[in-house]
Amino acid sequence: MHPLTRAILGLACVLVAIWLVAPTLVVVPMSFNENKSLAFPPVGFSWQWYENFFSNPDWSASFGNSMKVASLVAIAATVLGTLAAFGLGRMQNAAVGGLLRALLITPMVVPGVVLAIGIYAVYLNTHLVGTLTGFVLAHTVLAVPFVIIAVSASLEVFDKRLETAAASCGADRLTAFRTVTLPIILPGILSGLLFAFVTSFDEIIVALFITSPYLKTLPVQIYASITRDADPTVAAVGTILFLATSLIIAVGLLAGSRRRRG
């Protein structure tokens, strides 16, 4: 490639990267603002909004709730989604399998507001509004499609003949699943787990409908804060989340590359 072309391409890539990342990065300096405002560029330097996040019960409780809900949803959705992916993948009748799969994917496809209204209406009758159970159930429904897709992809490339080989070695179906199938499709399951967690943690639409003063998730708290006043604690939360996810991804990449090298 011509050196000039390479330079222009490099410049274009850098500009695009900046354009993609900048909105997220803006949050970081905003969080250190001395005044209670979301002005950019910020004035002064202060850790007070970070302090507020950890000390103010509104914020710490909602963060704790989100973590709780997301963890439970991650486990529930992964178990259910993996079982579903297996069932769908091994169905005899392909037409019925396709139909079922489409059905199970609908929560991902249907507009969030439509789902939220339906869930809210049902929850009113069953007194699930503002409860942990309510949140976990709703988010699991939203997360299962992601798990199904992730695990199905892994299953698709899994060589079923390995299970036959395991049987010839003396493994019954459960043992073959545990010792051969599961370890091989684990990456798919783990990626499904991650998707499920993030989907729940990040979820705002349904949360806004089924929230109560006693049970708020972090996105709901952020939304309430932003619409009420210009509290830079929001920026602090954003920075913390950004750093946490970047760290997890970095660790994941390092671990992956070390395994490939070794």
């Binding site: 080989a165 395991a166 010839s168 493994a171």
Partner: protein
Amino acid sequence: MSATKRYGSFVALNDVSLHVEAGEFMTLLGPSGSGKTTTLNVVAGFTDVTSGGLTVDGVSFVGVPAHKRNIGVVFQHYALFPHMNVGRNVAYPLSLRGVGKAERERRVARALDMVKMADFAHRYPSELSGGQQQRVALARAIVFDPPLLLMDEPLGALDKKLREWLQLEIKRIHRELGTTFVYVTHDQEEALVLSDRIAVFNQGEIEQIGTGRQLYDEPATLFVGKFVGDSTILRGLARVSGEETAIDIAGETVTARRRLAGDGKPVMLLRPEKLQLVRPGAAADGRNRLKGEIAEAIYLGSGSKYEVRLADGSTAIVRTPLEAESFAIGDPVGLVFAPSDVKLLPDDDRAELTLT
């Protein structure tokens, strides 16, 4: 064992009956779709039968699932577990049987030694070549000392020289272990190299079971005659008189010193070594003689092979030794053979070989 297997209206195995002696190397030979792999799957327990039974060592295996049968299986595609290294792959059947660590390591080492892969215990399957993977698969199948070892076209994916080398390795391992081997292949040369006895399959039935020599010298059906080894088939108007059969081919007559036992249109089959080529005009001294023309001349190193087009359009295959006279394409020749060398078989549509 005896079995019938139907998939809907397709009969995969039609009352196939097979008895294998302990310690024998039995090969199931036949073209694709002939039922040999289905038979193997029935023995392994991967397929159940529509009707029939299976006994191994006097124990009935009807209704016994595959993982309880204690039979070693080697697959064409190796089927090594990619997430385990070679050592753990081979140890897998032992760990399932609750064998202790020290004993496991000893037996894994012994199995890997037998397939000459002892130094590879820490490698992963993705780092091995096809031949190496197949040897590991074999080690995994013998490590738990099964009474029976099944091999489903294990060398099909390998190149010729490697195949030939591994055939001899498999033969050696069979001798050292003394286990009963049942081997599936479509390659009749491979079957002849490896087996004590061969069962020839065609369209879901066994046409003949015998040693390689029996199949070659005394084929029971036309299919077996055509499938095992090269052959020349002579068809024409047949006349039987006493113990002799004569066939008219495009004006010439050839005789065989035998007659067919039952009904059926007699067809003559000749092996390429029993045919001799002479110049037109040379004497035949009491033997059969047909006019023909050399269509193809192939030099084999150890001799020559000729394809001769006969007057009725059919092709004869002739092998001549190194010191015989050589012929060129287009040469008119006389095809000479003794009546006693003719094998007489009933004609059979099932003998049509489809080349897949």
